[in-house]
Amino acid sequence: MDAYTDKIKEISKKILKEGKVDVVMGFRKGTLGYMSEPYMAKSEKDAENLVFDCNCRMNLVNYLTNRKDKIGIVVKGCDSRNLITHLIENKIKREQLYIIGVPCTGLADKASLLAHADGEITSVEDDNETITIKGEGFEKKVVKTEVLQANCKTCIKRNPVIFDELVGEEVPELEIENRFADVEKVEKMSPDERWNFFGELLSECTRCYACRNACPLCYCPTCFVDESRPQWVGKSDNETDVQTYHLLRAFHDAGRCTDCGACEAACPMDIKMRYFTRKTIKDCVEKFGFEAGMDLEQRPALDQYKINDPNEFIK
């Protein structure tokens, strides 16, 4: 990963110096050892702070919406798919961007790192195969595949789809046996079991909207939950309001979500809201044969009509 970091710094300094971009969006070390935070480098000096490791859980495409300046941006495979979605939805122009692609071997799950640690974590090092967790009085090595985020285990595109420059050799894509095993498990339940499952899943939600704010798809000027005339959904932590919020957010992201996992990584209550979005991904793949953000030329599933669109639910 140090090689990635060095390369990102090198490219960033070069494009900032040449005036190709006004700013480079990347990551820098966070205040906690197991977190890296989004960072905007505006000068060659700033670019020294850039890093890349298994703690870069946020999706930087989130910060691109409607920007007018020239931007260098660091993208992982999933982020690059969101970048495609942004380009298709006219939220940014290709000419404005210099895309620094990172062939990604996955991100480390926060909760798993904390479970492995014997105290406060001061640093997490990642060499693409082994992760070294260091803290006061302990040092532990774990195999990276054991502490991956759930979405990285079912990742279908680890290498960026679109880029101007890659920071390393492309990595092999994963071979996944059953990509939607988790969704299928829920589908097999009875309606009441499902109702209880999701009731339990969302019971801790405080409606802080961290998932929405971390999501590159959620760029509406006024989100439906913030609207008060008309007020589409109640603002309390009432069970029905919480369910309505998560369900509607999933519908808004349907056919656009790339399963980057920024929502779950941002959640302070560790809620697995990807169950909702993953169902929409599964339906899109099965019913429309569509995968979000894989191709600049292809219109999203919910944006086009085909004569063979499935319609058996209409009587």
């Binding site: 589908e187 309606p191 499902r194 209880n196 999701f198 369910q243 909702f276 009587k315």
Partner: protein, 54 residues
């Protein structure tokens, strides 16, 4: 909606032209029969705390 636990016969979709009066009445009857069989909906109903439950 069914994925999050709504019963299968609770939600119906139909495409009916304004000229298809008979189809409209048939569908309406079918829907009400199916929903009656399920009984009152208890899901996605917002309940405010009352003096008794507090």
């Amino acid at each position: 909606m069914e994925f999050v636990g709504l019963e299968e016969d609770r939600l119906h979709f139909s495409w009916i032209s304004s000229a298809e009066a008979i189809k409209f009445s048939d569908v309406a009857n079918q829907v009400s029969e199916k929903v009656k069989a399920l009984g009152p909906n208890k899901k996605f109903v917002k309940r405010y705390p009352t003096k008794d439950t507090d």
